[in-house]
Subunit: 332 residues, 2 copies
DNA sequence: CTGTTAGCGCCTTCAG
DNA sequence: CTGAAGGCGCTAACAG
């Protein structure tokens, strides 16, 4: 079925040299006289030789592959990250093995195991939970890890994220500056780094302005669209619900706005939102007055570079947690 | 740096058996007496042994890895596909190497080369262009390929796509049924399978209803958001522009609606759209009356299964092009 | 049921 | 400047 493909050995024979010489030519090891190199190249072309990276990896113990794990692949945030990481890494000859942890630490551990067995040179990961113990095994095998977007406990590791607390503080403060005194919070489980930090920023802004946070007006669902929809619906169904809300992420924002555009359209002109993330479809989010824009592409590029530097050994020593700044954008 | 990790040989010594036996235990080859197997398993646990898949792949000529190439990673359509393929493939122990062709046949060829060198067991690809010659090399090396969403010329290969012509015909006909006589087309380059087939469906619906298609009211930009925005803007700036439009895909739809929600808000209540794709943010697309829903997750799952069947040899013979049906959805 | 023995395709000293 | 030779870690006949 799969016909035998030419090897370095076939090339060597055809060119009348040794396999060592062919290897040198392929790898640009200078010490080969031009004439010999030309012969080798001709043989390569004639035979349609293609390198077997698997064999090379076995020998060199490097696969030029990095693993990427995210709680879910189908999210706008993740795909923008993936795209910028791909851009950065493929430019250096690396491939990306992407996989989903399905928001489960158990699945995450399995994926890590899989990646380690495949001898990936490094891993970039959005942790599914704050549990980080299972990442240790990978690190102990000498595989560098970079976290992105979220942190995990019990783990000493490089990470790239944004100033979530500050961004949420700014957005909430802007609403307060506009005269809103009662501001709700549409969020996700505080067990997730981003949701928790953004909640803290929201709380600080409220506290500094001397405003009370009514527990009824904080919703902690998930970070998904349905949760945003449900939280918004439930919130507005209460008598005396606030008119202004801080929304924890893009998906909750879409969900909340979906509600306001359909079942909840009676509230559409009254509700004002301030939310994390700026997306291609942001102009459609008609109730949004402020958005906290994260530099998603830069996060991906930076994480990729940090990982490359660890892989190539040009980065040593203590792990570093980099916080990028967000930008507050006022709409319409 | 990277400390030597235990090999099958260390396990063999520690358990007092041969490497062959260890291999048998690992691979669940039944013919090992339970007692021996237990000893081996104990040794594996004690040493923290982990299989080296690279070495195994060199021997078995199978990597349990499939390559995925798309014109761009950051698109909702692709991410939904990727997620369903991941679900299907990871259940069978396969990993996904994803990469972007950046809409260029040249880059696509490079990525294919990279994947072939890495000895992927198969490739799923959304072709960047209709040029398919460079895919041949991969096929000739015995690596099965499945196309998805688009076709390519000069290529005999399995493919999964939808009935683009029929979906567009249905949507356009629905607009006609609502009484619209002048209907515009917001599209992408006809060099792309989906755009061309959808255009044909639009044209057929118009022709069958005896309606004229004014060339000024067809726009062939790209399949991106900016193009949808620009096409809509330009179209509406003409005197006597139609009120109804067929829109070729989700990104054009978002772009067109972005225009209608911002600069073009004067037209917002007049314009009616019928567009391909149903997305999580669809409720936000306020001018949309009809959408043609593609079964994206099924497309991914089906492509993945077809590829697996080819890889495992349970599928043989002539390539097959599967067309899934779309569903017309009426909004509001 | 288990062990011995060849490689898979490549890289890399070490000699020449 | 080039060649010979020994693995990298694992599997798969083939013996026993």
């Amino acid at each position: 079925m799969r016909e035998r493909t030419a090897t370095i050995r076939d090339v060597a024979e055809s060119a009348g040299v040794s396999t060592a010489t062919v290897s040198r030519v392929i790898n640009g090891d200078g010490r080969v006289v031009p004439g010999t190199a030309a012969k080798v190249r001709r043989a390569i072309a004639e035979l349609g030789y293609n390198m077997n990276q698997v064999a090379r990896s076995l020998k060199t113990r490097a696969t030029r592959t990095v693993g990427v794990i995210a709680p879910e692949l189908a999210s706008d945030f993740f795909m923008l990250l993936a795209e910028s990481m791909d851009r950065e890494l493929s430019a250096h000859g690396y491939g990306l093995i992407v996989c989903s942890s399905w928001e489960s630490a158990g699945e995450e551990a399995k994926r890590l195991q899989l990646l380690a067995e495949r001898l990936v040179d490094g891993v970039v990961m959005i942790p599914a939970t704050e549990k980080g113990r299972h990442v240790r095994g990978v690190q102990e095998r000498g595989i560098p890890v970079v976290l992105i977007d979220r942190l995990a406990r019990d783990l000493s590791v490089d990470a790239v994220l944004v100033d979530n607390e500050g961004g949420a503080y700014e957005a909430t403060s802007a609403l307060i500056g506009d005269g809103f005194r009662r501001i709700g919070f549409l969020g996700g489980s505080l067990a997730v780094t981003t949701a928790r930090e953004r909640h803290e920023g929201y709380r600080r802004a409220m506290a500094e302005a001397g405003l009370a946070v009514e527990p009824d007006f904080e919703r902690f669902g998930s970070l998904h669209i349905e949760s945003g929809y449900g939280s918004m619906a439930e919130m507005l169904s209460r008598p005396g619900a606030p008119d202004a809300y801080f929304v924890v992420n893009a998906d909750n924002h879409v969900g909340a706005t979906n509600y306001l555009m359909t079942e909840g359209r009676a509230y559409r002109d009254r509700v004002v939102l301030a939310a994390f993330d700026e997306m291609p479809y942001s102009p459609l989010l008609q109730c949004c007055r402020y958005s906290v824009s994260q530099p998603i592409a830069e996060m991906g590029a930076l994480a990729a570079r940090m990982l490359l530097d660890r892989i190539e050994g040009s980065r040593q020593g203590e792990p570093e947690v980099v916080r990028l700044k967000t930008t507050l954008i006022r709409h319409g």
